[in-house]
Amino acid sequence: MRLKYIVELKGVLKLPILSKVCAVERCGLIKEETSHMASGAQPYDGEATRPPLPMPTNLTSAFTLKEVRQVKAGITVVDVVELDIPTGEIIALVGPSGAGKTSLLRLLNRLDDPVSGAILYRARGLTQYPVQELRRKVGFVFQTPVMFPGTVRDNLSMALTLGGEPGTDPDERMAAALALAELDCALYDREGDQLSGGQKQRVNIARALMTSPDVLLMDEPTSALDPETAERLMETTRRLSREQHLTVVMVTHRLSEARRTSDRTVVLERGRVVACGSTVDVFGSTTNPRIRAFLDTGT
């Protein structure tokens, strides 16, 4: 199924036209999940131990979002979002502060659940996967890097314990993850407080890669880094996506970063998707004056 994207949408208060087209195309897939959510069904108590489902392969969509809505503290932070996230590409979520970027990202590996709507991962509802298995396949890199107690090695081996593939040599796996994150093996035995901000973020990326994810969610991974370090991290991200066929969904405040790094860009405003499409098209052809003004702030 080939996805189509329309660069610009009618306006803030209108649903994305393209998303409606996509929703129709995926009607059969979405219907089941929507009815599950609409009926008010809750994850059952044994969710964490739900038996694993075989992961579908050869799909063009990593995620499909159908009328997803999220409310926090009585405020709608994600408002009827419909979106397709293709596999193997880098998607940038941009928008002003409070647009719902992080809230949307958190829904994708179930750190939060939406109040309504459906999210499909590889054509199946998120709630159909055992949540731990889902999270191992959908890694998350936070805005502020978090180091677990101990050394870099301890951090990586903890992740390996949680979701490493059986039969792999731990040292080999850790070395590979460090290499992918472009970290020097000399840092193996350093504690978290002996690392720079950029190094910590790379350890966090390496740690997320230890569970062999198909998708990497990145919440403003460069916000605390200097421009040079941020650019190098983005280069690493591009290479990871290209070489590992990793789908990357990245929240960023830096529009120049989104422009240089991502294949596709989604613009959010007050919880709604106001523009989405190829990054070249979104940045080059958007004519809506308000969105244009926002996009031009980063150039």
């Binding site: 809750q42 994850p43 059952y44 108590d45 044994g46 969710e47 964490a48 926090k72 503290a73 590996n109 179930r110 750190l111 939060d112 659940d113 709630t127 949540v131 731990q132 298995e133 999270r135 191992r136 890694g139 998350f140 936070f142 502020t144 978090v146 677990f148 107690p149 903890m158 992740a159 949680l162 979701g163 966090n204 740690r207 997320a208 230890m210 569970t211």
Partner: protein
């Protein structure tokens, strides 16, 4: 003025009676404390006075109740007294928390019941060998000391766990995002809560007899027991309290932490009065 200090050789034979007139002299020390509070404008003078009056009234009431229970010597009255002590202690332990849920009340109550009940049973059957099994002279003071220490420990453990989970939100979610269980994600928080709750007990074991003479041991000596017998009882009490505190804090932290997570292993802080 009563002459409390006696030699060890004569202690077991001399119990000095403290009359109401003697108590009035003791009240003089409270008046000094109130005077200092007023002099420094601490705003505590009134509370101190009320506290002193409450001390007199509450202890008198307890004294008469104990005299009644001892005189009747019925097992059900002893059990009822123990349950009352447990309920009051549970409410006191939970009352220190902000926005307390009924669930925390239940967790604390059950933890204190199990830990205190087990410890009392252990001590009364294996160590002191109380006969009859409900002998109020032993069960009530022993249970009082157990419940007193578990009450403080449960309060510290629950409060510290809640604050640790809030402070470590990012770390916990980083664990969860990797596919960790809630037990793995909250391991550091639980560890810190357990440490905080156990440290006073550990410190108490370290300095007992050197920095302070424990109240029970002092009371026994004042009441005429041999100091050597008093220290044996005090050792029993110290170990008993350590065991009860450890069991209580383990139950409270391990059970309470589950309430911070949804079945889908999502961290939920809103229901604990903290911002998510």
């Amino acid at each position: 003025m009563p002459h409390f200090v006696q030699s060890a050789a004569t202690a077991s034979r001399s119990i000095v009676d403290v009359s109401w007139f003697d108590l009035a002299w003791a009240f003089g020390l409270i008046l000094i404390a109130i005077g200092i509070a007023r002099w420094q404008g601490l705003g505590l003078a009134q509370s101190m006075f009320i506290g002193a009056i409450r001390t007199i009234v509450q202890l008198m009431l307890v004294g008469y109740v104990l005299v009644y229970i001892f005189a009747l010597d019925r097992w059900y009255l002893v059990v009822a007294a123990l349950l009352c002590m447990l309920i009051v202690a549970t409410k006191a332990a939970v009352g220190r928390q902000h926005g307390v849920s009924r669930r925390l009340l239940m967790i604390t109550g059950v933890a204190m019941l199990l830990a205190s009940g087990f410890t009392l049973l252990y001590i009364s059957t294996l160590v002191v060998r109380v006969a009859p099994w409900y002998n109020p002279q032993y069960l009530i003071p022993l249970f009082g000391m157990i419940v007193g220490s578990t009450m403080n420990a449960a309060a510290i453990a629950a409060e510290r766990l809640a604050s640790e989970v809030v402070a470590r939100q990012a770390e916990i979610e980083a664990y969860l995002a990797l596919g960790a269980t809630y037990q793995q994600a909250s391991q550091q928080s639980v560890r810190q809560a357990l440490r905080a709750a156990l440290i006073p007990t550990v410190n108490g074991l370290m300095v007992v007899g050197i920095v302070t003479l424990p109240g029970m041991m002092t009371g026994q000596i004042l009441a005429g027991s041999s100091p050597l017998m008093a220290i044996r009882y005090q050792i029993v009490v110290a170990f008993m309290q350590a065991g009860a505190v450890a069991i209580t804090t383990a139950i409270v932290t391990l059970w309470y932490r589950r309430t911070f997570f949804t079945p889908a292993l999502q961290l939920k802080l809103q229901t604990h009065g903290a911002a998510a």
